[in-house]
Subunit: 372 residues, 2 copies
């Protein structure tokens, strides 16, 4: 007999979802209204405005895709690429590899630029790849690799792409709201993120923004976008239609209430303050983790403060210790992904999770568990 | 300056989203836990069990896609079709046309079977189409056309497909939970639905079920599924992986709490009772609407009780009256879609919306508004 499900209150310090504030959960459960209700349409316009602030962009096309970050990634690839197009994909972790898979399924020709896991994308290698393939149409890279905790120099990479008149697709799933991300100043073209990382909203939405050049590229396509659901020329009529909004799909109304609330909180705190808070909490966590014998995967110069990838001290049993933290402290930290599975932990300090009480709890719980 | 968003409490009697019970909204706002948390994985297994009951199937592959019904539709087409495959698409409303668009984007050859809007799909025409095209691999049709309110005979259509050894793709977005739908008994192969209709859950999820034959077809593919996000062979590892669950995408944790709760309510009421309740409420609404001068679009024999498409009485201004109902009674009824826009209303009695107090309010509000 199946019972009602009452989840425990966990402290979420993994790679996402991050902790969600009670105010966002409260917004989530407000009464559902119709997705074409004039009041809902007004709220959608506010979500767009707040997302533009978070992305630091004036791009008119800035919306949340009604599906998780993987769908946001796919939306960028299927709209910007046509069969036969050449694309440089930078691969320094799980999500670079996923970009490659997306590009191939679009029928694109992929030029790979590989860097070691834990390293940022090499700007020099990308420069060389463009020189050898000047007909490349798109450069795709991950700003903040969630599988390793490495931050790449999106501004420098976008500059190289511009030299060769290529567009950029940028994975900002883990960076948005946690470290500086300046879409317009850096000249990024198609950027996607997730709701459940540094925005501390419920999982299931993928904010994206397309530059005017990206929109031009979409409008100049000679083949239809292979996905109907993710065809942004159709979605435009819904999100940008104003009073004459056309029906595309039923928007996830309640999740959008939550996104509105979490973006409002970010706006009230101020982006710069949020970035600083993530940096400060990282410093505190770092000192404590190193004292416990953890060693960071990523060099300090390109380390994400919101995603701390650390090698386990010798003799620590990955699964057993994480299970113990969950069972005894309701504390979730993340395991390694792909090649790093079993070798590292990923300790998140994302959004609402990035606060002093969480750092303190995490360090004390680790100390008690590891010295048992 | 953007303020917090407090939606009014509407009574939702359009084509979806339907009214959501306070218990489901409460479940939605329970604390978020990790998508790989053992407790969450246990809940996902329960969601599968409850969905199997709702679909009346033993199909092992029965899960909610982490995106709206349009993505569920696309999941069926991109997984079952390969470029060049021949598919019969039945078109008797907006969603049949959307099926055609999906099939074309998969590179399939489409054989169209057209019926008038408001009519069910003609079983005879489908039989003829198969006779003329015995190499058809898939028959795609809409069980309950949300744009017109017509119910087609899914059992008879599936029988024809079986004669010709073809699989079926069935749109059950509006039928699931509202009228009989018996996936196994009728031999349906790939069926998708939506969370926001007769299940009365929040919008944003798309329950799907694939028969063993559909899974065989997917496993025998010679080309990759064009969508990474919707490639069900990858998703299988997440939903059916048990303790060794592999990461695919971050599940929409809170929306799945709500789905669990709404499916539990359906299970407690009993499917047959839910079907009867929809039929009973339709009878009450029908008598009242006809007394007010409304005429039904669809013949009684194939009319959906949960979606009442009615022609407006002469002289009634579509937009003005619907706006007045919304402003003065917080009552939402739906407008026409596609060819029926401006000519009909779609009055929904879906899931939690299908109750006596809603029927009474709707009839009285209409009477007062139309006789002003």
């Amino acid at each position: 007999m199946i019972q009602r499900f009452y989840p425990p209150r966990r402290i979420l310090m993994g790679p996402g979802p991050s902790d969600i504030s009670p105010y966002v959960l409260q917004a989530l459960s407000r009464p559902t209204i119709g997705h074409l209700d004039p009041l809902f349409i007004g709220m959608m316009d506010e979500v767009k405005t707040l997302l533009k602030y978070a992305f630091q962009t004036e791009n008119e096309f800035t919306i949340p895709v009604s599906a998780p970050g993987s769908a946001g990634m796919e939306a960028c690839f299927v709209n910007l690429l046509e069969p036969g197009d050449k694309v440089i994909v930078c691969r320094n972790g799980v999500f670079g590899e996923r970009m490659r898979e997306n590009a191939i399924r679009c029928g694109a020709q992929v030029v790979l630029v590989d860097d070691e896991w834990g390293q940022p994308v090499s700007v020099d290698k990308v420069q060389v790849a463009f020189e050898q393939n000047p007909d490349v149409k798109v450069l795709a890279f991950v700003h903040a690799e969630t599988s390793t905790g490495a931050l790449s120099d999106a501004q420098a990479l976008a500059k190289v792409a511009k030299q060769f008149n290529a567009l950029t697709i940028v994975d900002a799933v883990t960076s948005l709201g946690g470290v500086p991300l300046k879409v317009d100043e850096w000249g990024l073209d198609a950027v996607y993120s997730g709701s459940q990382k540094c925005l501390s909203c419920v999982p299931g939405l993928s904010p994206i923004t397309f530059s005017p050049k990206a929109i031009e590229r979409i409008q100049a396509r000679t083949t239809p976008v292979q996905s109907w659901f993710l065809d942004q020329s159709l979605v435009l009529g819904y999100w940008n239609g104003g009073a004459k909004r056309s029906y595309h799909h039923t928007a996830p109304v309640n999740s959008l209430y939550a996104l509105h609330e979490s973006l409002l909180a970010l706006h009230e705190e101020g982006l710069e303050n949020a970035w600083q808070r993530h940096a400060d909490m990282h410093q505190q966590l770092k000192v404590g983790l190193e004292a416990l014998g953890f060693r960071f995967v990523v060099d300090e110069a390109c380390r994400l403060p919101q995603l701390n990838s650390v090698y386990l001290p010798e003799g620590v049993d990955d699964g057993a210790v994480r299970a113990s933290l969950l069972d005894n402290y309701n504390l979730e930290v993340g395991g390694g992904l792909g090649a790093l599975a079993g070798k590292v932990w990923r300790i998140g300090l994302m959004g609402y999770s990035a606060k002093q009480e969480n750092v303190a709890l995490c360090l004390k719980a680790l100390q008690q568990t590891l010295t048992q």
